[in-house]
């Protein structure tokens, strides 16, 4: 990882699994390692069900009922989040590590005014008076692009558009000037014009405050031009890591290649031509293949792929990739 500064978060060998009511265990994240440098924007690229949201939740220790971090550690500034008490975590959440949720329609409390919801975060972490808080919230609202923050302050979520709601969510997330911001599919539920604005806003936040950002998306197009490095995730594992330009220009893993290909072909093709897509679906976590997990859908599959999971090869500098194409 060629991040700019020192490492802010280091995930080492993390495994997260769900246990269902019938007792079966479903691995969502499997022996995953990842590092995020301070002020770095890292993208996690992967399809739904690959465990990227689980990873994001694990970073905040916000796993849903039934999910357990079985192995590994998450070091935030050298302290293991997995060993922290709920109290210690609370001091970190929202203050140091924050997140922008996937669906702004669901992530805001419908009966509280949005301004007060932002103020809540300040109240929880900073020793500000009521007036100071309000001033700070208004400032934040301006920062996330509201022209008239005073009007927005007293609005309720349902009165705002999707983009506005997402801005509020971002304002909440950056309220305490966190070190790390996790954005899980921040634009997937938004109209196209808004996606761009949100991406721009996130980039601006990093620029202004040096916040490290972990962005999660299924669309490589979103990463272009604002992400420093990308980790590609498939079926609970990271299959490839590299800086953005490298990955998008020269994807190594067949899966990454297919994704980038799809993104590139998305616009501009003639009417009624078929879309590019990867055949099949990601494997059921309850029954991951023994070998390479992408093997069933891979166009370049080899014999060895069925037998065991490929280790990490480094065919190019700082470009680890888990594919037998690059070794053995």
């Amino acid at each position: 990882m060629d991040g700019t500064g020192k490492v802010l978060v280091a995930v080492r060998g993390l495994s997260v699994a769900y246990t269902l009511a019938n007792g079966s265990r479903i691995p969502a994240v499997d022996d995953l390692s990842l590092a995020i440098g301070s002020e770095e924007i890292v993208g996690i690229l992967g399809e739904s069900g690959c465990g990227k949201s689980t990873l994001a939740n694990a970073l905040l220790r916000l796993l849903p009922a039934g999910a357990v971090c079985e192995q590994g550690e998450i070091l935030f500034r050298g302290r293991n989040l997995l060993r922290m008490s709920e109290r210690e975590l609370r001091a970190i959440r929202g203050r140091e590590v924050t997140f922008v949720p996937q669906d702004p329609a669901l992530s805001l409390n419908p009966v509280l005014s949005v301004g007060s919801q932002v103020a809540e975060i300040l109240r929880a972490h900073l020793p500000l008076g009521r007036k100071q808080r309000r001033a700070r919230v208004l400032e934040l609202l301006g920062e996330v692009g509201f022209v008239r923050p005073e009007e927005i302050y007293d609005a309720y979520p349902h009165q705002l558009s999707g983009g506005q709601r997402q801005r509020i969510a971002i304002a909440q997330a950056v309220a305490c000037r966190p070190a790390l911001l996790i954005a899980d599919e921040p634009t997937s539920k938004l109209d196209a014009p808004l996606q761009e604005e949100i991406v721009a806003l996130l980039a601006q936040i990093r620029r202004k405050h040096g916040t490290a950002i972990l962005v999660i998306s299924h669309d490589p197009a979103m990463f272009a031009g604002f992400i420093d490095s990308i980790a590609v995730m498939y079926a609970g594992k990271i299959v490839e890591i590299g800086n953005t330009a490298q990955i998008l220009r020269q994807p190594l893993h067949p899966y990454t290649q297919a994704l980038v290909e799809m993104a590139k072909s998305a616009v501009g093709a003639p009417v009624r031509t078929h879309f590019a897509s990867i055949e099949g679906e990601s494997p059921n976590p309850a029954a991951f293949p023994v070998g390479c997990r992408f093997e069933p859908r891979c166009r370049e599959r080899m014999e060895i792929c069925v037998q065991r999971y490929p280790p990490s090869f480094v065919p190019m500098p700082a470009r680890p990739v888990s594919c037998f194409k690059y070794g053995e």
């Binding site: 409390n109 509280l112 809540e120 929880a124 972490h125």
Partner: protein, 325 residues
């Protein structure tokens, strides 16, 4: 039509319906006010017939209803056979006490049930949750009258509080502050009984609706942003969970007048309860009907207040927004 207009029309229809059914019901019930006198061997049937005629009880139902409506429109609500006075002042002098009791009880009930329900839901399966399950089951399973008597007995044995009435008999001699303390002391026991019996149900409902909200993603979001547990519950969960609770609150508001009848009777609280119950059994028709109309009015008001509260508490309803487009 706006909400309020619709509501008012419905209210008027309701009151009319209640009054008609009241008359029909009272007609159905056997016996009349003067029947008790039949047991007294020294009173002749002629006297009883005379008294019935005096009070118009020998008139056909329709005539009596007409007279009653007329009287109701004069805000008299009929004429009590037993007390020989118009019903409305009779009711009002006691309704004040009933309201004092029930409002206090309601405020306390909700003040207790809401946090308890919240807490139980937040620590689901914990000691408190289990304790609430057991205690509320106990309170629901044991008839109110038994609970009330047991508490009364305890209070009487240990001289904890006065066991009945609203004020001491030397009330007038007390200073203002002592008078207040006296009323509070008398209020304690009936309020405790009411609170116990009511909260058993409300805690359960609150717990159920809080559990539902706790799973919502905005709560998870708030938690993820480091909001403390208590703050999360009270500031974030409660206002949302309040919606079903407010409907329930509407019920308790609506039942303000009628809900405390039993406790009032047992504790000798000078409210509408003893009056209306006594009137029911002594067939003092117009007092009963007046009492019912009174509580129907409250029911209307209560439900209306609840609906308005819903509007106030839920900005989605208040601003009349939702799923357009």
């Amino acid at each position: 039509m706006s909400y309020l207009v619709r509501r008012l029309v419905r209210g008027i229809l309701l009151l009319a319906g209640v009054s008609v059914l009241c008359f029909l019901f009272t007609e159905m019930a056997p016996g009349s006010f003067f029947d008790e006198m039949r047991v007294n061997p020294q009173i002749s049937p002629e006297t009883i017939a005379g008294l019935r005629a005096q009070h118009g009880l020998d008139q056909p139902l329709v005539v009596r209803y007409g007279r009653w409506v007329k009287s109701a429109l004069h805000a008299d609500l009929g004429y009590s056979i037993a007390y020989n006075t118009p019903v409305a002042p009779l009711l009002w002098s006691r309704a004040k006490n009933t309201l004092l009791l029930t409002l206090t009880a309601m405020v306390l009930t909700w003040g207790i049930s809401l946090p308890l329900g919240l807490w139980a839901a937040a620590k689901r399966g914990g000691v408190l949750d289990r304790a609430i399950t057991v205690i509320s089951s106990l309170l629901i399973a044991v008839p109110e009258i038994v609970i009330a008597l047991a508490l009364l007995a305890t209070a009487a044995r240990w001289r904890l509080t006065p066991v009945g009435g609203m004020v001491s008999s030397n009330f007038e001699e007390l200073s203002g502050w002592e008078q207040f303390r006296d009323v509070v002391a008398h209020l304690t026991l009936p309020v405790v009984i009411l609170v116990l019996c009511e909260s058993a149900v409300i805690v359960r409902h609150v717990r159920a609706s809080v559990l539902e909200v706790l799973g919502a993603s905005y709560v998870q979001t708030a938690r993820g942003l480091g909001i403390s547990r208590g703050r999360l519950l009270f500031r974030h969960v409660l206002p949302v969970a309040a919606n079903p609770a407010i409907s329930l609150f509407g019920f308790s508001l609506a039942g303000l007048i009628s809900g405390s009848m039993l406790v009032e009777v047992i504790c000798g609280w000078p409210g509408l309860g003893p009056l209306v119950l006594d009137a029911t059994f002594s067939r003092d028709l117009y007092v009963v009907i007046g009492g019912i109309m009174f509580s129907a009015l409250f029911m209307l008001g209560g439900n209306m207040v609840a609906d308005i509260m819903l509007m106030v508490s839920d900005p989605r309803i208040r601003t009349g927004a939702a799923d357009a487009g």
